[in-house]
Amino acid sequence: MSSLRTHTDPGPRPFPVTPRLAVALSIGIAAVIAWLALDAPLAKLVPGEGGLRVVRAFFAAALHPALEYESPVPEGTPHILAQALAAARRTVVFAAAGMSVAILLGIVLGFFSTTAWWSGDLAGGTSPLRRAYARSLGPTIWTAARASIVVMRSVHELLWAVLFLAAFGLNTTGAVAAIAIPYGGTLAKIFSEMIEESPRDAAHALRAAGAGPLQVFVFGLVPRAGPDLAAYSFYRFECAVRSAAVLGFFGFPTLGYAIAQSFENLHYAEVWTYLYALILLVVLLELWSGALRRRFVA
């Protein structure tokens, strides 16, 4: 824009407020207002004497995570490392259960929230029935799918968990549903966007060879987005593992439960043992998904 202006140089402006400058200024003013409204948050970041001691103790413990429990435990309690391993395993199980339901939801809702299965571009025909379908039924289902995705996504998994906790008590199915619903919504949204944006050349070619609308969608459109869909699902699986861990704070037997208990007892070294287990888990998942991605893409 500015380079264009140089061609027809209007000379220096008396008061140089361009639209861009105005936007930048408003953002700055909004930041100052927010800062003042929060009542000087920086001042509260300076911890008191006691708080400072806790912080120091906590981070000092990072250097020597517990290899034994820090206080006597009842007879028959498994070793802390075995405990961490079991909690990590349960974390993965919760995440995997939530994700498998989420992927199903994502595929079904993702399909219905693309325009590709009813729009004239790929599936449309010239018959009156087809046209009516593309004009009314398709858009109606599409809108319903989009709306349910918004509802599923706008409530965070922790809120879903609280809701299910209140409704069903400490129930494994509730925890799985708490992950599955928002993740299903997110997957559906991203799946549909990836499918809509994937190149349509192969889909058009299959249509030109007589394939039906559903065949065109499944064999022409989805495979072109396939590697992206798989990579994104893996990323969400990592997120689900973290979410499953945090659900432990509500009492589900994942890593978060162990972390919360040790934290309450001020056993920071134990907390770090469990945190390292979580970090290790995420790193392992990342290595695994990276290897698979290389196989998909290369």
């Binding site: 025909g125 010239t126 058009h204 060879a209 394939a211 039906g212 559903l214």
Partner: protein, 289 residues
Amino acid sequence: MKPSARPLSTSVSCADHDAWKRARPGSAAFELHGAGVVFSGRTALTEASLVVDPGEALALVGPSGAGKTTLLRLLNASQVPTSGTVCVDYRRLDLLPPKGLRAVRARIGFVHQDLALVPNYRVLQNVIAGSLGRLGFAGGVRAMLFPTRVEIERAAVILERVGIAAKLYQRTDSLSGGERQRVALARALYQEPSALLLDEPVSSVDPARARDMVELVTAISRERGITLVVSIHDIGLARDHFPRLVGLRAGRIVFDGPIDSATATIATSDLSALYSLEGLARVEPAHAH
């Protein structure tokens, strides 16, 4: 058999009651009668009339943007004309229900300019995708995921015919441009088509390979009696391999003639006019022959 070119028929033969009886299984017949295509205000094709007999081979020539792709898309029912009629095997496409249109498309192999393959499929899957038009949804899933031995062998035979037998299980995006083009041709042949339509098969490969490709499709369609329509930018190549040339310019058919010794001179002057910037007036009468 070298099919001879013929002057444009002005009668609407597919409107004849008995015309469909002339249809030959395995060799499609095409007719355009005053077909026009307008894309949101932009005219792509005007008053195009063309008769292609069963088993004929012809090349569409003309500069890019002349309407060659649009004409090809009319022939396989991918494009609905905004005016005029299109007939395949003496049946008017505008009178066919969607199922009938699918059946027509399933019998016409189309090799797209950009090939339109799924790059992350194996070659076998891309080839078998050619049969989707003949299968229902469940049958298609079965064929794509669990091809039978017979289907694999059929695909292998076709790949051997197009010269890439060894690539059956390779990922399509690991192949060269020329090999991918042959995969696209194999997919079209797997349809067991009664016509092959190729859109600019020479634009994406080097000249030697382009010649090989044109020789390959003309040989295959001759040995199987398949009707062949190829759009080609390269006039020399078109003249060397096709008995009939149809010239397009700015959305109009500007000539339609045989290539043989008797008419070579006429054709040559027409051809030079086709690509010259000021030649439009000279070739205006569409039925000059």
